[in-house]
Amino acid sequence: MRAVRGLLVVAGVGFGLWGLWLMRDFTREQLTSEAFWLAGGVVLHDAVLAPVVVAVGYVASRVLPAHWRSATATAFVVWGTLTVAFLPVLSGQGGKPGNDTILGKPYVLSWVVLTLVLVAYAGVGALLRRRQGRSSDMKTLHGSGS
């Protein structure tokens, strides 16, 4: 495994250096802009998105009734990641003047529908869980009674 690991690291460093070599004729302005977009995502994730998600999880685990937690977490993972994935089309930016074959869908409406579907998913999941919980409580009751 040592050899494989060494090979991966060496190849990886080589690939990375090749990438840097391809930037050798970029102007200072281009490199500055590139550096901004390279660092921006990391900063935005580590300083904003991740702490917000941790805070949401912390609050949810203490506020939500027990039977809501699991389904809500699943719905939140799907909702949050899809919202990020669809941010470009939701942004209202881009497109080409006089060309309605690009960005020609009601994206915000679709996002609202997606959100409602996932809220419904969490609700149904919570309901099922509560019913399941009750029937297993009953079983425990009967079990201990006999």
């Binding site: 690991r5 990886g12 460093v13 390279l38 994730h45 497109g95 060309n99």
Partner: protein, 389 residues
């Protein structure tokens, strides 16, 4: 009152143990990470394949076959990149507490730690860069100063390199984690909490949904389902348009009755009107427009085979040619057709699309259409063909 010391501040910063969700753990990270690695590998390979179409090295001859190849590779490029977004976010969530690991004491340990952190910063920065610049390019928004194509290519090498280093560093952890059951041993101590399995399934579901909800722009039977695809798939003559005639500055010149197609071979020039082109033997083929932005669509094209035009000026069918557009604005105003593509019977100067006279936004009076060719090289509004150039 005294000012807080470094130690006071350090005490305030959370430690990895402060994050108490048992859904996190290398068993989850390794599984999401493996899927993510596959997405990145596919995205990288198909992306580099696309770059080879744009700047083909001398040793490589690109074939016009299989007809749908570029459509598949570029469709996969966008699909794998889209699928990666939810996986990346869940993976980063699963390792977020590790950001707060305190550096070990000792010079050697510090150096190793610093190197690993640098490689992870490079990996995160470059993958965010790739996914952001790629998805913004699809919608046609360029809020930056660099060249999209060249920078997207260069940073891709950095990203895949950082990924290889990361796998090399983590290989023992990955192997152990993949061999272990996914669930935390104590997961049922809090039965209501989300489990690793539920987070893993949610990540895969989100990734799959991201694909299904966007891929309709290249997978015809998903068109109605893909509520978030950038290209709904409609357009004049049932085909989307990338650059309109107005956008390319050809709205007037393309309709000029004095328009002629000039075939130039050395000092010999043949000039043809649209009627003269229509009078030549026509051929009809079903060929895709496959755009680098990941949308594609098959259409039925009718026109004059390029090799018949080459015969008119006495050139061999497999001669390299350059086609030039009336276009005055934007890139890709001309393209080179290499000999093996020029001689393919399906490579044509199209005059009609899906049974109607070519729409001006699709390149009226004539456009190039050839099999297995990126959309930007299917030059529209052609007025000049340079033979043997």
């Amino acid at each position: 009152m005294r000012l807080p010391t470094v130690a006071d501040i350090e005490r305030r910063i959370p430690r990895p143990d402060d994050f108490d969700s048992r859904a996190r753990g290398p068993e989850l990270t390794a599984r999401v990470g493996s899927a993510l690695g596959i997405c990145f590998a596919v995205c990288f390979a198909t992306g580099m394949w696309s770059h080879l179409q744009y700047s083909t090295p001398g040793w490589l001859t690109l074939s016009p076959n299989p007809t749908q190849l570029y459509r598949w590779t570029q469709g996969l490029h966008i699909v794998s990149g889209t699928a990666a977004i939810p996986l990346l976010l869940v993976k980063l969530w699963s390792v977020f507490p590790r950001l707060f690991i305190r550096p070990e004491r000792g010079a050697r340990a510090l150096v190793v730690e610093a190197l690993e952190r640098v490689s992870i910063a490079a990996l995160m920065g470059s993958t965010f860069f790739m996914l952001t610049s790629g998805t913004l390019n699809i919608i046609g928004w360029y809020p930056w100063e660099f060249s999209f194509r060249r920078t997207h290519e260069a940073v891709a090498w950095v990203a895949i390199g950082a990924l290889l280093v990361h796998i090399g560093v983590k290989l023992p952890v990955i192997r152990t984690a993949l061999g272990a059951p996914v669930e935390h041993p104590d997961h049922d101590r809090d039965a209501a909490a989300p489990t690793r399995r539920s987070v893993l399934l949610a990540a895969f579901a989100a990734s799959g949904l991201a694909v299904v909800l966007t891929a309709g722009q290249t997978v015809p039977w998903l068109r109605r389902v893909s509520a978030f695809s950038v290209r709904p798939g409609d357009g004049p003559q049932d085909l989307p348009v990338n650059r309109t005639a107005a956008g390319a500055g050809t709205a007037k010149t393309a309709l000029d009755p004095a328009w002629r197609l000039e075939l130039v071979a050395g000092d010999r020039t043949v000039s043809l009107s649209r009627d003269e082109l229509l009078a030549m033997p026509q051929s009809t083929h079903r060929l895709p427009i496959a755009c680098v932005e990941g949308w594609s669509r098959n259409a039925t094209w009718t026109g004059v085979p390029l090799r018949d035009l080459l015969a008119l000026v006495g050139a061999d069918a497999d001669t390299d040619v350059v086609v030039r557009s009336l276009q005055t604005r934007g890139a890709f105003g001309s393209s080179r057709v290499v000999g093996n593509v020029a001689e393919d019977e399906r490579t044509m100067l199209a005059l009609a699309l899906n049974g109607e006279t070519l729409d001006i936004d699709h390149g009226y009076p004539v456009r190039l259409i050839a099999p297995n060719r990126p959309g930007v090289f299917q030059t529209k509004w052609i007025n000049r063909i340079e033979v043997g150039a």
